[in-house]
């Protein structure tokens, strides 16, 4: 089974990165690049390992196949893993995003930054996302979930001298910690109904009110990380306070992992034979949360004058669309969510890298400070304009298809509630133009201001590669959707 292999490589890579940091401590500006090279190599090796072994997993239906157990299978505390297509797709998305963030970090970190911990935490983050993706029981799942959150707090707080960063990290820590508590209670309730800690036990929860309550609590608990309204309040602060590479990683994939955790909960219900019977209460809760999340995300975005906060609100809105698709409890909805995680991750992490060209202070990413930056540097302008178009779902970028998939999942569900939810989704996408186009209007078309520090080619190359990948997905969606079935 390759999952444990992957985790060993990634974990070992983290240790090696710390070691490399120690060895290279007198290398000055080369130090981050050296440590980064070691860490990126670990991602590359794990990527190769995954691709070389994923054929049987991709060939099998979503669900129980390829479950395996570590250590004493008879023990109640045995760890159960179950990788399927969805897990593999999640791993792929996170490897691409975090791998790109690492490359971007090579030159972004200064000699005074703690390069070792930065790269090691990124690897641990990736390692725990791999664990979250493939966990088969609640105990294993929870362990990796907490590890992931810890790595994320650490990354946000790492640059201690950065204004606002420690406060934001604390906020993140407290909120996500309380979220974990909610999720834990949810797990307990589901266990009470189903009598098993296996994730598949969720399918028995629909039978009772306590079970449904457990499901709702799971969604709320993971929903803190996923920024489900009203538990989203930490997100804009964290995104805007985190340094560029970290914002790109957290905004690109960690928030999405929160949504993926909800996918894990919904998956046995969606792919199971029982259908959505007895779950209308759960579905109604999801529909309400979806509506509130997309609407508040977009309306909040309209009121922002800071690019990184704006991108944060847009992430909240995206979570709303994904929840809408999930509320159908159907395989179509899950595929729509997975494809959105991929497409949104590429664009959003690239966008944060663009914003990170100069984000030493909070004010530097105010739209008023960025005015005309894309006119001073045409390449930057093109990247900004493409990212905006991608984010509002214009072809030929990948997120265009995600919107179609979400709407399709809703309309295929065939009831009036979901029809109106689809109407809400498409209107919300239009609403997002209201805050995204001013970004073009000001950053790309604003008055030139000579003397501004120019983005280096390297700073543009990494987001450029992400945009190119998004473009490729937009032109040849089958290449990636094929992995999902």
């Amino acid at each position: 089974m390759f999952v444990t292999g992957l985790m060993e490589v990634l974990f070992g890579g983290a240790m090696l990165a710390m070691l490399a940091d120690l060895v290279a401590r007198r290398r000055g500006r080369l130090r981050p690049a050296l440590v980064g090279a070691v860490a990126s190599a670990a991602v590359l090796v794990s990527f190769g390992l995954m691709v070389s072994q994923w054929a049987p997993v991709l060939g099998a239906p979503v669900g129980a196949a390829f479950t395996f157990v570590t250590r004493p299978a008879s023990s109640p505390l045995a760890s159960v893993y179950g990788a399927d297509r969805l897990s593999v797709f999640m791993m792929l998305s996170s490897m691409v995003v975090i791998g790109m963030v690492m490359v971007y970090s090579w030159k972004k970190l200064g000699p005074g930054d703690s390069a070792g911990p930065h790269f090691a935490l990124l690897l641990l983050l990736l390692c725990s996302i791999v664990g979250v993706s493939s966990a088969g029981d609640f105990v294993t799942f929870f362990l990796f979930w907490e590890a992931m959150s810890l790595a994320a707090y650490g990354l946000v707080a790492l640059k201690k001298d950065r204004p606002l960063a420690p406060e934001a990290a604390l906020k993140y820590f407290v909120m996500a910690g309380m979220g974990s508590l909610l999720a834990l209670l949810g797990m307990a309730l589901v266990y009470q109904v189903s009598g098993t800690v296996l994730l598949a036990g969720v399918s028995a929860a629909g039978g009772s009110r306590v079970g449904v309550l457990g499901l709702v609590l799971l969604v709320l608990g993971f929903g803190v990380e996923a920024a489900v309204v009203p538990l989203h309040t930490w997100l804009p602060d964290v995104y805007s306070a985190a340094p560029g590479p970290v914002a790109a990683g957290v905004g690109g994939i960690v928030t999405a992992t929160g949504v993926f955790a909800i996918v894990k909960v919904v998956q046995p219900l969606a792919y199971g034979s029982g259908g959505a019977q007895g779950l209308w209460g759960f579905q109604a809760a999801l529909v309400c949360l979806a509506l509130a999340t997309m609407l508040l995300g977009n309306l909040g975005g309209l009121a922002q004058g800071n690019l990184k906060r704006l991108l944060g609100y847009s992430s909240i809105a995206q979570t709303g669309y994904m929840l809408a698709a999930l509320s159908t409890l159907s395989p179509l909805g899950i595929v729509a969510v997975m494809f959105t995680i991929w497409n949104h991750g590429l664009l959003k992490s690239g966008f944060f890298m663009l914003a990170g060209v100069d984000d030493a202070t909070y004010e530097a990413t105010d739209l008023s400070s960025l005015e005309g930056a894309g006119r001073d540097d045409r390449r930057l302008g093109l990247a900004y304009a493409s990212s905006v178009l991608g984010m509002v779902g214009s072809p030929p970028f990948g997120l265009f298809w995600s919107e179609i998939f979400v709407v399709q999942a809703l309309l295929a569900a065939g009831s009036a509630v979901f029809f109106w939810l689809a109407v809400a989704v498409v209107l919300n996408v239009v609403l997002s133009i209201g805050y995204y186009f001013p970004v073009i209007n000001r950053v790309v078309f604003g008055a030139a201001r000579p003397g501004r520090p120019r983005a280096t080619s390297f700073e543009l190359a990494v987001p450029g590669a992400l945009l190119a990948l998004s473009l490729l997905t937009g032109l040849l969606p089958a290449l990636f959707v094929g992995l999902l079935g």
Partner: protein
């Protein structure tokens, strides 16, 4: 396989990334390269038309198996005819751009966007299924927005680009819902099976009406129909070449083209047809009235476009897709001609205000003849192309729907009146300009001349082509023809009297009468649609946004208190449930 049906849109798209390279290697060749690509595209359009033998859809592999979505082009009479029309106009306007855009900064950006537009517009025309159609539909929209904002130092141009994108996207939101509703019902979006299913057990009744309304909302926004029309007059901030190509002749027709493509769907429901007729006549009236007051030559033409597009929808509402197709091509030719002539004037005088023009007929002869022919064609003078297409609509209205016929006649009268008003103010009387004015260069006059000839003669070609059976004038036309020509004459005379023979007393009358002044003000403001939407957006969305951001206190205490509350509530509920 009709390979040209693919190359016609693929060639311009592939050329897009090449433009910046050409520009970097040899700046002066950028425009010529684009012209060459436009020429190739026209060649392939013609070859596709020649190779066309029978209706059919050509499929090339699978685009997205998950959605059961092939890549396909539909090669039928309609698409090859419209394809040739689009490629022909694109080439002419690319040539015209050589003169009009000479010396402008950002040539690479301009030509790559125009080629992206041309390729996507042709892709849209040739698309074999609705999702492919929508893909290109979105791209032409964003090309349009970025070309409107081309002179991005101007705040007005930037705002106009944003507005065009946002307003049309509202319609697109409805369109994509409609398309996916079709897909969710029929598991396909290819035109042939979808249209075959219309009226069958899967697609009828209220579902059919819902799909029709959603699709039509998309068409309305793209084709600038009331109340979505507000973006088009502002879109005139873009270069005149862009106004001619995108906002007069091709992209704004896409909505009409969509309804023509999906016409069996609309025909299946009288509610849908009546809606299309109503919206068309309303927009046509609003456009004509507003065109009469504006002093900006390009806004006059934009309102006129809204009005003419309304007539096409009216034709569709009356049940004749052939008349709508005819008028679509006809309007494309004479309106592109009007814009190119206007652009030639603007390039000389560097103003768009018709009050600052006048007396140009002697110094700019080719331009004058072009604009004159365009106005005559638009007013429906035989045998110019506008006569055939408009009288087809009038005569259909006469044979079925008399109130609609009366409305169309009234609009015809208005059309002649605003057309001649513009002609008189720009080219006749005395010039208010002081600088040296001369005719534009050959890059601009040759396309004007070519379009002038086609406005006079294209009806012969269109009558002789075998792709789409366009309406020939019926024998019992006499009454409608007489009335329609009467409306033309009356409109022309009114404008001549008001703006040439008694220009001063007209101005005095408007100055004296408070009612006329306020009417004029209302019309100049576009009848308040813009103000209303602005108010609604600021109050509604803006207010909601402020409310939403007030939730964000940034205080950890309040945020975590909420979570704690959820937790306590959950424990209580769990305990209650367990007991």
């Amino acid at each position: 396989m009709n390979i040209s049906g693919w190359l016609v849109w693929l060639v311009p798209l592939v050329a897009v990334p090449v433009v910046p390279l050409v520009s970097r290697a040899w700046k002066k060749a950028t425009g010529w390269f684009a012209v060459g690509v436009g020429g190739l595209s026209l060649l392939f359009a013609l070859l596709a038309a020649l190779a066309y033998t029978a209706e059919g859809t050509e499929t090339y592999g699978v685009w997205l198996g998950y959605l059961n979505l092939p890549i396909e082009v539909s090669v039928d009479g309609l698409s090859v005819l419209v394809g040739v029309f689009v490629a022909f106009l694109s080439l002419l306007i690319l040539v015209y751009s050589l003169g009009y855009m000479r010396g402008e900064e950002g040539q690479a950006r301009y030509y790559s966007l125009v080629l992206l537009f041309v390729g996507s517009m042709l892709g849209l025309v040739m698309a074999g299924n609705l999702i492919q159609f929508y893909f290109f539909w979105e791209i032409v929209g964003l090309c349009s927005a970025f070309l409107i904002a081309f002179w991005s130092d101007r705040e007005k141009a930037r705002k106009a680009g944003l507005k065009a994108f946002a307003v049309t996207r509202i319609g697109d939101a409805a369109l994509i819902l409609g398309i996916i509703l079709i897909f969710a019902t029929l598991q396909t979006t290819s035109f042939t099976p979808v249209l075959a299913a219309v009226g069958g057990p899967n697609l009828s009744g209220s579902l059919l009406t819902a799909v029709g309304v959603l699709v039509f909302l998309g068409a309305m926004a793209k084709s600038a129909q009331v109340p979505f029309h507000v973006w088009l007059p502002d879109a005139m901030e873009g270069p005149t070449t862009v106004s001619a190509l995108i906002h007069a002749a091709t992209m704004v027709n896409a909505g009409v083209y969509l309804v023509i493509r999906m016409f069996p769907l609309f025909q299946a429901s009288s509610v849908l047809l009546e809606m299309v007729l109503f919206v068309g006549l309303l927009s046509s009236g609003v456009g004509a009235v507003c065109a009469f007051t504006s002093n900006d030559i390009k806004r006059i033409l934009a309102y006129s476009t809204i009005s003419q597009l309304g007539l096409m929808f009216a034709a569709l509402g009356l049940g004749s897709w052939a008349a709508a197709t005819y008028h679509m091509i006809s309007q494309g030719l004479f309106k592109a001609l009007a814009f190119l002539a206007a652009g030639s004037v603007i390039a000389q005088l560097e103003t768009r205000n018709i009050e600052e023009m006048g007396g140009l007929r002697k110094v700019m002869k080719v331009t004058y003849v072009g604009f004159l022919l365009s106005v005559l064609a638009m007013s429906g003078l035989p045998p110019l192309i506008g006569f055939w297409s408009k009288d087809a609509i009038v005569s259909i209205a006469f044979s079925g729907d008399l109130p609609a016929a009366a409305a169309i006649l009234a609009i015809s009268l208005m059309t002649a009146a605003y057309g001649f008003r513009a002609l008189i103010k720009v080219f006749h009387g005395k010039g208010a300009w002081k600088k040296q004015v001369h005719e534009s260069g050959p890059a601009m006059t040759v396309p004007i001349a070519v379009l002038s000839v086609s406005v006079v003669l294209a009806w012969l070609a269109l009558g002789g082509q075998g792709y789409v059976s366009l309406p020939q004038l019926p024998a019992e036309l006499t009454v409608s023809l007489a009335l329609s020509l009467g409306a033309l004459a009356l409109g022309a005379v009114v404008s001549y009297e008001a703006f040439s023979a008694r220009a001063e007393s007209t101005a005095g009358l408007v100055a004296r009468s408070a009612a006329l002044r306020s009417l004029r003000k209302a019309l100049l403001g576009g009848l308040g649609f813009d103000a209303l939407f602005g108010y609604l957006y600021d109050r509604g969305v803006g207010g909601a946004a402020r409310l939403a951001s007030s939730v964000q206190t940034g205080l950890l205490d309040t945020d975590s208190a909420l979570l704690l509350l959820v937790l306590v509530l959950a424990v209580v509920m769990a305990a209650a449930g367990a007991l």
